[in-house]
Point group: D2
């Protein structure tokens, strides 16, 4: 089954370090190759580990491992998924955070769960990512990807944000609101849900657009095909700055006239256009 | 393009009759074959029409026509779609009702729009139907189909309805509520929207489950794959009766223990399993 | 403090009987006068109780007791409140039901809680009731009261209900919907909440109007002064029947043209116009 | 009736100037005393006006006028109300903005409406303001007032805001969300409505608390007595900055541990504690 296991860990306290040490020990006892992300490895206390394990950067993990175990909360797993999306890889989360939708295993049960998973007792779920590009004056300014959601949100302005949305080039609406969430099925249970969106089954190839605090009373969440191209243009007459966030992390400040395109195709790296999904593992018990 | 045109009309007042007369005259002037549904034809005032036109029952319309024009509101079009779903047919609605999501043309513009449509200026939209079966004591009690939605709703009971829902055999939840809407994308802008559901793009193969007045505060609409099989079981300990409605029409009173299955496959007529969609026509101008 | 205690119990199983027996025994041991509602008393097993206690009808309980203890769920307490609203009385609920918003005490803690309460460790909360009258052809057809809510709901009709609402004689709106909830602050956490209403603090003199599954997307819950007079008129052109429910219990079937007035004044018994509240007791521990 | 009329105008384009000129001319022709806010007066083109009219600062307007007419949108009227709340004054809005809930009169009808109003054809509505204080390390840092709402909103942080709310010293809840709106009845149709709150009748003495994008699914708007004291404390462990806005205008950046108190008492100027309302005028026609 899995032969080479990568490990990514959030930086943290003694609990994180303990979990990391236990995980490395557990995997080595099963004679599996273990590759630790170089930043995460700084937390390994015993220097002997460094000799026994391969410490490498994320690209090595992505190229060489068939399973990457992420120690942290949903935020750590989301970040790992974004960074590793271009590799054909499985992700498994050990939850040290507040609440884990994506991270399935608690540290106390870690060894038992992992034994089962390494013996084949797991479910695989394909989760697709979305890719966003920001254009200013017809020049691409920046790009990012997200497993949960891309959010355009007003920021340094005292009024609501005015923006226009198109789907596959067709005008959808012009809205005044605090912002707009474009979420994958994975993200439909995260911020989009707080903003009033529906839950989308993970197996459905769909995106949901949820307006945050819409000025009009008639705004409703809209579910579209996952292969749609969504374009959001900040109104030129808008004053002040907005933000583009991916998975809750600030990526770009936005100015009037900026245009954002969102789709599920890997527009950054056309050499791997189809690798736009990540496989999440869930233990069976 | 279209060679044989069927006509279905709601029964009504002078406005309906006038619209029907104008439509027959318009189509005959273009030398098209016109077949009028036998019940609708009762409204034709001039007996001469009867000689010139073919009056036939719906099965003849379905088998022989390539386009059926429906005069009425959304209700009339929904009914026509349910009855003609087993035929490979296009539907076009002339709106005499209050508000028409599905019926596109107003009587005043009828001739102009139809000219364009008959010249090929139209959009086709495939809309799929869903099929529901009711089982009592493991015997199939009744079945129905719907273009918009299947709704299970409490009726003669003073408490909320308790029911369990599964998707593809997997337990989803047990709920206490006024009821549950299972809507197609077409129906997502009808009753499901009133109950708090999202809008689903017509091109998406999906169903949305919206709980009506849920007892728990955590209930949210759920969007699932259109090929899912949804099963709703009325709690055995429930007292009183519930209702099963399709497209807003009462189909079956439900008792404790009744089980409803809903899917997009034509389970009634396995000889035409693939004809589970209707094509709606929208004029271009 | 409390000298004469009334008891009302739902009819039920061994658990109810056990709770009732324990309660009677507990109160008699403290040398308090105990008056048991005549219907509830049928559940007392030991005939000796009948000799020791006064068994009487509700009007005697209302006139003579200063505290009435209700054994059951919220439904039993709501019913008791409606029946005893015209008396100046305190109510305390022992919860045998599924979920108790109004009934505070569980049977296992009953004696301990009651000791505290009888020693003065309690909070009093004034909860007002609302009164509804139904008029047909300008004749009063029936009337009812409610601690939680008055609900107008469509019933034997396939379309939505069309009705007009006024507040203090001023036109508010005409709506198409499944129905309308008019709730007190007490009822704001019951059915009105399921229909999408806000929570109203119990101390606020206010009513909330929540439309159930409104046809228009712009409908929002409206909070008005508790002294408002709300009038709902079923559209004359409506076909089919609707229902008037008070606290979830069917009170009146409604026909097109029926008019319902709702206010917090005791319009049935003008001799006691000010006794339109009930005092709920909550234990402190 | 009204003898001395104040005028406040937003700074703007030719349309604003034209409206201002017409208004001054109209009032002077009726021999009313006209006092123009000194900033607004900069827009008066003809210097002759300056000689004929009194130009003064807002405190003079507040002390001397019995009616102040505001030219602009809701934003201008909200600002004027906040600044003049300590005076016993009537406000009337002429709407040059996008949408006017508070500003009743369009420029084209201005003279006709004003004639009626000056002849006594108007409705008066008392609208109360709320006052907010921000405390850091138990020192009052700043204070503000609002006619619509006080909003605490996350700002320079990538996570949701964690905060605790009390009402009259009683713990209400601890929440993770984008923020919290505390709105007056006047503000219930503004931002609070976008965030999902109910409409509160202007005559009701109540406040509504609406959580913006709550992390938990069970959050619901809460309506409390208008005399309540609401206290919001930003969680100490929170990282990043939040914002306090009054009527949509940034007033204070907030840090972890900051405490905000909100009530309808004029806590800034105890010499005029009762003047915490503004009277809005609406024309009758």
């Amino acid at each position: 089954m899995f032969k080479s296991i990568g490990i990514i860990s959030k930086l943290g306290n003694a609990q994180v370090q303990d979990c990391l040490e236990r995980l490395v020990k557990f995997l080595r006892n099963r004679s599996l190759e273990v590759i630790i992300d170089v930043t995460s490895a700084q937390q390994l206390l015993s220097s002997s580990h460094h000799e026994l394990n391969i410490v490498a950067d994320l690209d090595v993990l992505g190229s060489r491992c068939d399973l990457v175990i992420v120690i942290g909360g949903d935020g750590t797993l989301l970040q790992s998924a974004r960074l590793l999306a271009k590799y054909d890889i499985c992700l498994l989360g050990i939850n040290l955070g507040r609440l884990g939708f994506l991270t399935d295993i608690s540290p106390s049960d870690m060894e038992e769960y992992l034994s089962n998973i390494l013996n084949g007792a797991f479910l695989e779920e394909d989760r697709f990512l979305i890719y966003a590009e920001v254009y200013r004056d017809n020049q691409r300014l920046s790009y990012t990807n997200a497993l949960n959601d891309i959010v355009v949100h007003r920021w340094n302005m005292s009024h609501m944000l005015t923006f226009e949305t198109t789907i596959n080039g067709h005008f959808l609406n012009q809205q005044r609101a605090d912002g707009l969430v474009v979420a994958t099925p994975t993200g439909s249970t995260a911020y989009a849900l707080s903003a009033g969106g529906p839950i989308i089954h993970p197996s459905l190839n769909a995106l949901v657009l949820v307006t945050i605090c819409p000025h009009t009373l008639t705004s409703r969440p809209i579910v579209v095909d996952g292969d749609s191209c969504i374009q959001i243009t900040i109104n030129f007459e808008q004053t002040g700055e907005a933000q583009l966030n991916s998975d809750g992390v600030l990526r770009q400040t936005l100015q009037p006239g900026d245009r954002i395109t969102i789709e599920n195709t890997n527009i950054f790296d056309l050499s791997t256009p189809n690798l736009t999904t990540i496989i999440l593992l869930y233990g069976l018990n």
